[in-house]
Amino acid sequence: MSDYEVAIVGAGVVGLACAARLAARWPGRVLVLERHEGICREASSRNSEVVHAGIYYPTGSLKALTCVRGRRMLVKRCRDLGIPLLACGKVIVASAADQLPALEELLAQGRANDVEGLEVIDAERLRQLEPGTRGVGALWSPASAVVDSHQLAASLEAEAAHHGADLVFGAEVVGVEPADGGYGLTVTQGEETTTVSAARVVNAAGLGADTLSTMVGIDIDGAGYRQYACKGTWWSIAPRHNHRLSRLVYPVGRAEDPGLGIHGCFDAAGGMRLGPDFVFVEAGDDGVDLSVPEAARAKFLAAGQRLFPWLEAEDLSPDMAGLRAKLVPAPKQWRDFVVAEESARGLPGWVTLVGIESPGLTAAMALAEVVGQRLSSS
């Protein structure tokens, strides 16, 4: 018999959501292995904390489905547990008339995805809703929000612990072998190397998920699982502007913008940030450089001033950076989230999650639900 029914690799928000759900199904029989000394030290603590409504993604895609469902689950959880959630909504702003048709396209896409409350508004209504920005029109999305992602993740960890899940930190999975009708994971913890077995494995290793796939023998290029790190940096806006915005403010994505476009967001305390940009990066010997390059200041100022005429150069200071796990090596290419049970590759009970970029925070609880379904049908 295996040591555990399920081993989950990775204690980011997605791994923790899986742990909370699966530990309820297999109390005391779930193990979470995380290489860092605590939860959410990678993408899950380096994002905009935006609860996305689910507008942008092709209808029927896993991104669209899990974003909308995950958001509803997240909002309910926050209300039930008192986790800070700013129900601020967001405006996607057209700065010139030639961008207005794009608002209609987004409106249609969002409605097809079952996003509530979307409305195209004119310049006057935009001024009333968000006096801190300017534009010729906007898409108003009242369902978008900002969450305290740390408290959300901590609540998932607590739920998993309540159901007796074992969470082991400082534990890196370095090898995988078939064992006892399941999988034997080789784990290093400091100087020590141990092996632990599990009947099922959930690969929620974020940017490390393709490496883990390789360990179990999956050809990541053949499978389309190779991930590319795409860095996003934020610049904080001087505290004198705190609370100047009451809605999230995004630009209409322009053809030359590689991602959603640099936008204005804030945390629960009102502190404001601009970001993230979108730059593919290679890991060096010490991993990926997570510093915020000063050279990008002009780019951020220009993007910021398109949305916020009051922004001045000295308002910006470098904030932080995060890494998206993308399944494509260049901008303007689209891939859906992958959540795959790998029986067809001779790996029953092994579930791969790759490409869990934005809206992965919003979608986390719905992704865990999908993982549960994939395991039921395996």
Binding site: G38, D80, L81, A154, A158, A160, A161
Partner: protein, 152 residues
């Protein structure tokens, strides 16, 4: 004293004891750190016993979303318990008083940070989401002597 204040006072005692443990450990005074750790463990058990016997059943009885909250509070307690074990194990591992032990503690300071963070978050969660609503709901409840921990 209302539940809110009694619980806040208890958490202050727990956090104070943790600071004593941490202070002694980073000074390389491992013997003293272990002694404070034993006090912290005992105080936590006492406080936990009251909450498990009284607070969690109340939440569960009230039903609705509070049942889910009880799940999270219980989960927090387990995480605190494990974090306490991790700190105890570390204090056993680092050897006796002296600079080597001090260096070993500093190298593993995250183990202390984890305990500090979970205690603080748990304290805030209980104060805001558990004891404030319970004080409203049950204006007659006064659990002073059970919830209060002796000040070290």
């Amino acid at each position: 004293m209302r539940l809110f204040e009694a619980n806040a006072a208890a958490h202050e005692v727990l956090e104070g004891l943790l600071m004593e443990v941490l202070g002694a450990a980073v000074d390389g005074e491992i013997g003293r750190a272990r002694a404070h750790m034993a006090q912290l463990r005992e105080a936590f058990e006492t406080h936990l016993a009251v909450e498990e016997a009284r607070t969690l059943p109340l939440l569960r009885d009230l039903g609705g979303p509070l049942v889910k909250l009880a799940v999270i509070i219980d989960g927090d307690h387990r995480i605190v318990d494990r974090s306490l074990n991790a700190v105890s194990a570390l204090l056993e591992d680092v050897g006796d008083d002296g600079p080597a032990a001090r260096a070993a503690v500093l190298g593993k300071i995250e183990v202390f940070s984890k305990l500090k963070t979970v205690l603080e978050h748990h304290g805030v969660r209980e104060q805001e989401d558990v004891y404030t609503p319970l004080d409203h709901r049950f204006p007659e409840l006064e659990w002073t002597e059970e919830l209060l921990l002796p000040k070290p």
